[in-house]
Subunit: 151 residues, 2 copies
DNA sequence: CACATATAGTTAGCACCCTAACAATTTTGA
DNA sequence: TCAAAATTGTTAGGGTGCTAACTATATGTG
C-alpha cells in the first residue's frame, strides 16, 4: 500500500477511535452530570486549584471561549466556583466545590476502569509509541494552524 | 512510568491530535464552504454514488441523525442532491452535483498536500502500527458502548 | 388479510469546539 | 504621564456528534 493511502486510513482510524472513546466515556458518566471535557477539567483542577480560566484552557489545550461554556455548565452543576482574583480584577480563579472534589474522585475511578478495559490486551511499548506518534502529528497540525496568521 | 499513567497520557494525546488536525483542515477548506465531515462524505460519494443516507452514515461510522444535518448543509451548498429511491419510497439516494464533483477533486488535492505535510517525517511502518492500534481501541470502545443496551 | 415489527429519514435538545467581535482591565512605551 | 497594545473573560454564530421521539413506509407473522 502506498503511503498516501496509509495516511488517509490513519486519519479515518484516528477520527473514529477518538469519537467512539469519547462517546463510550460520556455514556458512563452522564448519569452523574459529567462529560469527557468536564472530567478533564475536574482532574486538572483537583491537582492544581486556583488557576485562572486562561491557564486552565491552556493546559487543556482549548480556546478560552470553549473553556467559558464548559465552566458555565460546571458551575451550574455545582462542581466549581469562580472567585475574583485579588491580583487582577479581570481574572477569575477557578476552585472545586466539595461536590466537585467528590466527582473528581469518581471520575478518577471510572476513568481508571475504562482505561483498564480499553487497553487490556495492548502492551506498554505500543502505547508509548502511539503517544510519540500522536504528539508529533498534533504538533505538526498546530504549526499548520498558525500559518493562517501569516497571510 | 506505570501503564495507567501511560494510557491516560495516550488519551490526552489522542484527543488533542484529533482536534488539531480537524481544526487545521477546517481552516484550509472553509473558504470553499467545506468542512472535515463534509469532505469525508464527498469523497465516499465520489467513489460510490447513489448510496442511501443510511448506507453513507454506516460507511462513515456516523449516526443517521448526524448524517441528515451534514447532508442538509451539503444540499444547501449545492454539493449533493437527494433523489427518491424507485425501489423504496422511504429511502433517498444521494448523488453529487457537478459542483460537488469539482469540490471532491479539490478536497482530494488539499487532503493530499495536508497529509504530505503532517506525515512528512514519519515512516510507513509507524503509521501502519498506529492504524492497528487505533482500530483495536476503536473496536474496544464500540463494544463498551453496546453494553449500555444490556442493562 | 391484518396487525406487529422493523427500517429510512427527520426533528428537537444537549454538549463540544471553533472563530470573530466586544468590554473591562492591565501593561507597555513614547 | 498617558495613549496604544495586550490580556481576561464574554457573547454570538456556525458546524459537528449524540440520544430520544416521531412519521412514513416495508416486511413478516398470525
Amino acid at each position: 500500500m502506498n503511503k498516501d493511502a496509509l495516511t488517509s486510513e490513519f486519519l479515518e482510524a484516528l477520527t473514529n477511535a477518538s469519537r467512539k472513546i469519547r462517546t463510550a466515556f460520556n455514556q458512563r458518566v452522564t448519569a452523574h452530570g459529567l462529560t469527557y471535557p468536564r472530567a478533564r477539567a475536574l482532574l486538572r483542577l483537583s491537582k492544581k486549584p486556583g488557576m485562572t480560566q486562561s491557564e486552565l484552557a491552556c493546559e487543556l489545550e482549548l480556546e478560552q471561549a470553549t473553556m467559558v461554556r464548559i465552566l458555565d455548565r460546571m458551575e451550574e452543576h455545582g462542581l466549581v466556583e469562580r472567585q475574583p482574583d485579588p491580583k487582577d480584577r479581570r481574572a477569575k480563579l477557578i476552585v472545586l466545590t466539595p461536590r466537585g472534589t467528590e466527582q473528581a474522585a469518581l471520575v478518577t475511578s471510572i476513568g481508571h476502569s475504562m482505561r483498564l478495559e480499553i487497553f487490556a490486551d495492548i502492551n506498554s511499548e505500543d502505547i508509548a509509541a502511539g503517544i510519540q506518534l500522536l504528539n508529533k502529528l498534533g504538533e505538526r497540525a498546530m504549526l499548520m494552524e498558525d500559518l493562517r496568521d501569516l497571510t
